[in-house]
């Protein structure tokens, strides 16, 4: 599997500065991800798991520590890393195939190869027949399928998923989890999913990274030694899930909500 890669996080720290005060969001994250591995990152809100993913994709800069992809430090965004956001983020004025094609805008392939890649990935996510549909004509689940196809069409070495099914209803979510499992097996790609759904984390992940908040740290890493494809009714998964859920039961200490981290003004301005 030479097309996949190892992601290595070493002593990763991220601090926001809010009104002159340092607010640590990630503290000393160390994690190695093997080629072709499926890693789930689970934690309650505020544990910095989404920030971690934004660091990996390159949308957040200024951090301490190292993020290495195949031994090379990650700088900014790159086509070798794909992402699926919680909100599908499709461009409403583009059709399904045009939205997927957006990812290929800067790929070196010929138009013919691009068209083939788009068609192949529409088939991969099961959306044949919807090539020319616009986002407003799609359900939430279908939109997220398009987003997955868009994330994969560049054949990235790693696909990052930021609570990709968090906004979907339970049935659609269950369906897409199975689909994602199938796609992962078919594409043999490294995937990192961030979620607050322990069931989802255990169903999909080869390992589940449990995070704890304030500041975001890795509490422990739970291996899920159950072969894929997995069934959600598997008793082994249920045992692991219950074990992880106990972590969160202890962690529940009542406290007032903290001041939300406001994005800085520069984040809104155009980066060019």
């Amino acid at each position: 599997m030479s097309s996949t890669s190892t992601l290595s996080l070493q002593g990763l720290r991220k601090t926001y500065h809010v009104e002159g005060q340092a607010l640590p969001v990630l503290d000393d994250i160390n994690l190695d991800i093997a080629p072709g591995e499926f890693v789930s990152i689970v934690g309650s809100s505020g544990c910095g798991k989404s920030t971690l993913l934004r660091l990996l994709i390159g949308l957040e800069s200024s951090f301490d520590g190292r993020i290495l992809l195949d031994g090379q430090p990650v700088a900014g965004t790159g086509l070798e890393r794909g992402i699926v956001f919680q909100d599908h983020r499709l461009f409403p004025w583009l059709s399904v195939e045009q939205n997927i094609g957006l990812a290929l805008e800067n790929s070196p392939h010929s138009p013919r190869e691009k068209a083939a890649a788009i068609a192949e990935h529409i088939a991969l996510v099961g959306l044949e027949g919807f090539e020319t549909a616009y986002p407003h004509q799609l359900s939430g689940g279908m939109s997220q399928r398009v987003a997955i196809a868009r994330g994969l069409v560049n054949r990235p070495r790693i696909l990052l998923l930021d609570e990709p099914f968090g906004a979907l209803d339970a049935l659609t979510r269950a369906n897409l989890q199975q689909e994602l499992q199938r796609i992962w097996q078919q594409e043999k790609i490294t995937m990192v999913i961030v979620t607050h759904d322990v069931d989802e984390a255990v169903l999909l992940g080869d390992r589940v990274v449990v995070m704890e908040p304030r500041p975001g740290r890795i509490k422990r890493i739970v291996p899920v030694a159950v072969p894929h494809p997995r069934s959600r009714s598997d008793a082994r998964l249920a045992r692991i899930r219950d074990d992880i859920l106990r972590d969160f039961a202890q962690a529940e200490v009542p406290r007032l909500a903290e001041h939300p981290v406001e994005p800085r003004f520069e984040d809104y301005a155009f980066a060019w």
Binding site: I57, T77, F85, P92, L102, E105, Y268
Partner: protein, 256 residues
């Protein structure tokens, strides 16, 4: 689902104009109305046929539409460029926008004395006046439209490593298109109004308002009514063309 019901023809809309036409005809034919003040429909029609056959209608239309489009192009280009600048540069926005909002309050027609002193009474002054009418709606709408590009979609373009040109053509322009089109649409209507105003308030010149001016001077009400019909029809046609273009280029939007 995405059919626009307003564009479908409904004959019930003809009832009121038909009634007005009938009353108009009845009032003038029966002698109830003074035909010197209310010209009969037949006379208006005769005037129209005369103007068409003499070529004066087309000459006037050509002159007016020419200056209308010149002013529209000038004003909307300036509005689009400045609107884009204000949307992407926070500094420019803070420096210029308050003044522009204040300047907007100066009624369009209050510019006429100043423009005529600076540029005289001729075509340059008329085109500038029309351009001013087109400028503001395009400026404010393109400013708003470009600013409404969400951070979420901008991040997607960063993930796919778009360069500046790709960001503008693939994200910013399409995202701002609905508002830019709305601004251009308004500008097209305003600049037509301003075209009539420019022909009225600057030195007389051939155009669609010639029958209005001549008709008033000669107390020829048929000519005045004919002139009003022409101005109205051109305005309606411009509006219809703009709506059509707008709908075609924004077909991705969900039904309104």
């Amino acid at each position: 689902m995405s059919h626009d019901t307003s564009s479908r023809f409904d004959p019930r809309g003809l009832a009121l104009p038909g009634l007005v036409l009938a009353l108009w005809w009845g009032a003038t034919a029966s002698g109830f109305a003074d035909t010197r003040i209310v010209a009969p429909p037949a006379e208006v029609l005769a005037t129209a046929l005369r103007e068409i056959s003499s070529g004066e209608l087309f000459e006037g239309l050509l002159a007016s539409l020419g200056r209308d489009l010149a002013g529209f192009a000038l004003g909307s280009t300036a509005g689009l460029l400045l609107g884009a600048l204000l949307a992407v540069s926070g500094l420019a926005d803070r420096l210029v926008s308050p003044s522009l909002h204040a300047l907007k309050q100066v009624a369009l027609f209050a510019w006429i004395p100043l423009i005529s002193v600076w540029l005289g009474q001729d075509e340059a002054a008329r085109v500038l006046f029309i351009g001013l009418a087109a400028f503001y709606p395009v400026l404010f709408n393109s400013h708003e439209g470009i600013r409404s590009v969400t951070r979420e979609l901008a991040e997607v373009t960063r993930v796919f490593r778009f360069n500046t040109r790709q960001r503008i053509t693939r994200l910013i322009l399409p995202a701002a298109a609905p508002q830019i089109f709305a601004g251009l649409h308004l500008a097209l209507i305003y600049s037509w109004l301003a075209t009539i105003g420019a022909e009225y308030f600057f030195k007389a010149t051939p155009g669609v308002s010639t029958p209005l001016l001549d008709g008033r001077a000669d107390f020829d009400m048929a000519k005045v009514l004919y002139g009003m019909v022409v101005v109205g029809l051109v305005g309606a046609a411009l509006n219809a063309i703009a709506s059509r273009l707008e709908q075609r280029s924004l077909k991705w939007r969900r039904s309104r």
